[in-house]
């Protein structure tokens, strides 16, 4: 089944903070591991609550982010969303890791 992944962005990098991101990318990864669709959503203001709302609304399966407060991490986990946090790296490289299925929480993609 195709999986939807949300990545908060800061320029061309994974945003250091989930709660301060104003731009997110939503990527669809197909069964064979290819990124089939990408869209960028610009948020009116940075807000962890609104981002959580967007994640549920868009039926996101996995969130790839940098720092995230435990409260939001637990909330998303409770909502069956996989959170790969403390990920550092450029958006492009992170997508490649996602496609190969090797991205883990805490990964620093240099």
């Amino acid at each position: 089944m195709e999986q939807k992944i949300l990545i908060p962005l800061y320029a061309d990098q994974v945003a250091p903070r989930f709660d301060l991101a104003t731009e997110v990318s939503i990527v669809s990864i197909s069964d064979d591991g290819r990124a089939t669709g990408k869209k960028t959503v610009v948020l009116p203001r940075a807000s962890a609550e609104q981002l959580c709302h967007l994640i549920l609304l868009e039926k996101i399966g996995t969130v790839v982010c940098g720092g995230i407060e435990d409260e939001y991490y637990q909330y998303l986990k409770w909502k069956n969303v996989t959170v790969l946090d403390s990920v550092i790296g450029s958006y492009k490289k992170v997508i490649k890791q996602l496609e190969s299925g090797t991205l883990r929480a805490g990964d620093i993609v240099r």
């Binding site: 800061y10 990098q13 945003a15 250091p16 903070r17 301060l20 940075a46 609550e49 709302h53 940098g66 720092g67 995230i68 407060e69 435990d70 991490y73 637990q74 909330y75 409770w78 946090d85 403390s86 550092i88 805490g106 620093i108 240099r110």
Partner: protein, 472 residues
Amino acid sequence: MNTLPRTPINGLFDTPVELPSLIDEVPLAIVVLDTRRRIVMINRAFEALSGFSMEEAKGIHCSHIMRSKLCIQKCPLENMDSNSEPVSVESDMINKDRQLIPVLINLSPIRDAEDNLAGFLETVEDLRPLKEVNSRETHAYVFRHLIGKSPEMTRIFQTLPLLAQSDSAILITGETGTGKDLLAEAVHQASNRAKGPFIKVNCGALPETLLESELFGHRKGAFTGAVENKPGRFRLAHNGTLYLTEIGDLPLTLQVKLLMFLDDKVVYPLGSAKGFQADVRIIAATHRNLDLMVKEGEFREDLMFRLNVVRLHLPPLRERGDDIRLILDHFMSIFAKRFRKKINGLSKKALKILLDYPFPGNVRELRNTIEYAVNMCPKGQIQSTHLPAYLAETKHFYGRVSPEAGVRSEWTSSIVTSDSEQSGQKTWASLERDMIIKALVKTKGRRNKAADMLGWGRSTLWRKIKQYNIDA
């Protein structure tokens, strides 16, 4: 992985000295950056505060490691040159343990011999102890972030200030979601070690080999991949508190090493014969029944005795009487403020559903439920329809099994007895699994009837059968 280059300082002493040996022992978190704001070096105090090791942080842009609001909104270093004066800004940061920490950040330029900009020096002061003092509430039913007025909680609050001042090991027990982490941190913040680091290690989160190196550190070359000396969590917690959560998951071999440390207070990193005398207070926590584990030979009795100097048991929410109402109101006011909503309490029906629900996930589950309800409620009173559906499903199930009004259902009472019998050994998932199996046995495997009995739709039951891997 690159080997970290040496950083000798010449001219200070007769022989060159390594920079880490100078800054590692400074209790203030220090970050050294190059002109492009990439990390050149961090000291041990910053490793402890941020959760990132020197090896991980080296060469990374500081915003990804500091993770401060300042980095995203307006980094003062953007316009800092060699002539700039140092800047001091209050901000926050999120560490690897997902804690939002208030910090005071001092930034200053580093100049070379010709007064050119060579890089930046950043010091980070943890303001948590200061903030805690300012916001400390005087209510008898509040201790740091813990709330409660039930006799069990009041007793804990009364003993905590005294316990915090001692250096004894503390064992915190309690079901998942009862606030073990908060209690451990509260003890640290109220102790004389509050200015020192509070290091949390989840003993169940890492495989044995990694956990050993994470806890005790390793010497360069101790094993394949050990390209640098790693201080280990015990060393990072020097002069502070080491919080070992899920201690029941600590492998037996590491239990021996922990026991040795508790006896000698010396840490031996992997591959090193030279020990380090660590002044660390140990707080351990588990949701498991350690007494039972000792009986079954899964946990060392001698370690249990050493950790069990002081035992604090956090009661499950269902045994805390009126606390549920207190906590409910507390979270409702917090989330209403956060989501900028005007919420005027709960309707009678919604309150009844919440008070009847056993909350196997305890305070955490209650908090999540209230957050959900506040999110769903546009304004005014929170109605039963604003609560997560599964709460009502549970209620439905009560009705099916025990039609007598006012009588607690078989399921609820079975939760209470099984939990009290096994002191929190069962999780919500295992209870739900048992419940499904019981229903399937009763209905001789007929899923339609079982679903009906459980008060669920057929697809819900099918999904849960798959989720719990029940061979039906």
